[in-house]
């Protein structure tokens, strides 16, 4: 009896591990194929679907501007207040401009924008492709001799990789505005003083590291959405499950990748 339970216990762990490894293997394959169709295949004369890419860019990017901007503004305010609170006793309130500027451009701008898009667009990708899978639309594509990777995945990944960094720039700017807002109205710092302090503190590298990160986050969010969508089985319930998984996995991967990046940039740059 006891050994039976133990057996079941280890069997379950084993099965889950194998399933997990299998999923990672499948996911890596999808990423590999997507990158191939995005970067290598165009050199061989396969065209990229720009029309469809632009449609997705509007869906992922333009439509997300209000929510991303609002959140970035709030984050700027929160960071500003936190910084001011800690710097004021030293009479160094003005340095809040440095703190807000650097944290927003290097860390919070890219990460929060990516998380918003994981919830808003990554999930939409998973749900849309999952529904197509369930209603045999993807099978229909394949029987027409159309490969779903260049046809469906590439436009989504490409548009995400263009729009997420662009949105990140907007978030950076609006986040800094949020800090400025606190600086002017709560700390009574002169606008030009704050502005000059910010430009002095920020270097191009801060934006660049942020943008590199957001490019990688974009690849993660879009490919995880595609993978979960293509993996749906078992009707509408399966679509729901995979959509949730896509959001949770994306957010986890964004944060994990960010740790890796920050470690890397911190030690080398």
């Amino acid at each position: 009896m006891k050994s039976n339970l133990l057996n079941n216990f280890f069997a379950t762990i084993g099965r889950k591990t194998l399933k997990g490894l299998w999923e990672i293997d499948q996911y890596t394959r999808l990423v590999g194929q997507t990158l191939y169709w995005m970067a290598a295949a165009p050199l061989k004369g396969h065209k990229i679907r720009f029309r469809s890419t632009i449609i997705q860019m509007v869906r992922f990017g333009v439509d997300s501007i209000p929510i991303v901007a609002t959140i970035a503004f709030f984050i700027g305010i929160i960071l500003g207040m936190q910084a001011a609170y800690q710097l004021k006793p030293f009479g160094a309130s003005i340095y809040m401009a440095d703190l807000v500027g650097v944290s927003v451009t290097r860390e919070l701008g890219p990460m929060l924008t990516a998380i918003v898009l994981a919830g808003r667009s990554g999930s939409a990708i998973a749900a849309e492709l999952g529904t197509m899978k369930v209603s045999e639309e993807i099978d229909a594509l394949r029987t027409m001799g159309l490969n779903p990777i260049p046809y469906l995945a590439v436009p989504r990944v490409l548009s995400m990789m263009i729009m997420l960094p662009s949105l990140t720039l907007i978030a950076d700017f609006v986040g800094i505005l949020g800090g400025l807002f606190v600086g002017i109205f709560s700390e009574h710092i002169d606008f030009w003083l704050y502005f000059n302090e910010t430009t002095r503190a920020l270097v191009l590298k801060d934006f660049l590291t942020g943008l590199i990160k957001s490019g990688v986050f974009a690849l993660l969010v879009a490919t995880i959405g595609c993978y979960q969508g293509f993996s749906v089985s078992g009707g509408a319930e399966g679509v729901g499950k995979r959509t949730t998984t896509s959001v949770v996995t994306s957010i986890f991967m964004i944060i994990a990748a960010n740790v890796l990046f920050t470690g890397l940039f911190y030690s080398t740059l």
Binding site: T131, E136, E137, D139, T143, M144
Partner: protein, 266 residues
């Protein structure tokens, strides 16, 4: 008669997980013939079709279309074969994000260099054929189930395929429209010399359009032959199927009602 094989299936086995779904299918389909695949719900008809169009990888066995082993072909070669094939899915499988016209036009846009104006004329022609003229701008969600199926058929024949696969083309259609679909399939066969593989439960349409019938049961092909050959086949399942008899162990309607009344009164 020198009949040329166009599809050859050899010792095809398939598993879904542990379930052994296709158990050694052998079937040869000849050029320009219409073959009807009959069998009970769940016996593996759709699965067999999916293998023929390369959507599923078999556990073992070969599927040759014009001599090419479909499961072993690389992406590009498979695409070349698929361009000459049309498939009507059991549920239509239309692209829900596109209008009916765009659904039908998609393969033409992707695989030909035709002018947009030519494509639009061809699209309208195919939709007229299936009786959906005037519905070009509709989305799949705005159509009835039967209309979706007909739109799926229009899309399947958009490229004038050599081989047409139909998974229950007339299921869920009213008898008049179903008869229309039968006429259309007959026309495709006679005028365009299409080879057709049709899964259906409609005996009337089987007898009308099929040159040969393949009877499937539990993942195997029991018999293949002309209508007369199948009708004279002594196999009990085939006779049961053709004569619409219920399973023997199921109580018939009279006894069921009797049991019910005696249960209520007693």
């Amino acid at each position: 008669m020198d009949k040329k094989p166009i599809i050859e299936i050899k010792e095809l086995h398939t598993y879904y997980g542990r379930a052994h779904v296709l158990k050694g299918i052998n079937l040869t389909i000849y050029e320009n013939e219409t073959i009807a695949i009959l069998g009970r719900s769940g016996c593996g008809k759709s699965t067999l079709l999916r293998h023929m169009i390369g959507l599923n990888q078999p556990g073992s066995g070969e599927i040759l279309i014009k001599g090419k082993n479909i499961p072993k072909l690389n992406e590009d070669k498979k695409t070349e074969v698929l361009k000459r094939i049309g498939m009507l899915f059991q549920n239509g499988a239309l692209f829900n994000s596109m209008s009916i016209a765009d659904n039908v036009a998609l393969p033409l846009r992707e695989h030909t260099d035709l002018e947009e104006s030519t494509i639009s004329i061809m699209t309208r022609m195919k939709l007229d054929l299936v009786g959906l003229g005037g519905f070009e701008g509709f989305n799949p969600a705005q159509l009835s189930g039967g209309m979706r199926k007909r739109a799926g058929l229009a899309r399947a024949i958009a490229m004038d395929p050599e081989i047409l696969f139909c998974d229950e083309p007339s299921a869920g259609l009213d008898p008049i429209v179903a008869a229309g679909i039968d006429q259309l399939l007959l026309k495709l066969k006679q005028a365009f010399k299409m080879t057709m593989v049709v899964v259906t439960h409609e005996m009337a349409s089987v007898f009308l359009i099929a040159d040969r019938i393949a009877m499937m049961n539990e993942g195997q092909i029991l018999a293949v032959g002309t209508r007369a050959e199948i009708e004279n086949n002594p196999h009990s399942f085939i006779q049961q199927f053709l004569h619409r008899e219920p399973d023997k162990d199921k109580v018939d309607r009279e006894t069921f009602l009797q049991n019910l009344t005696s249960e209520i009164s007693g």
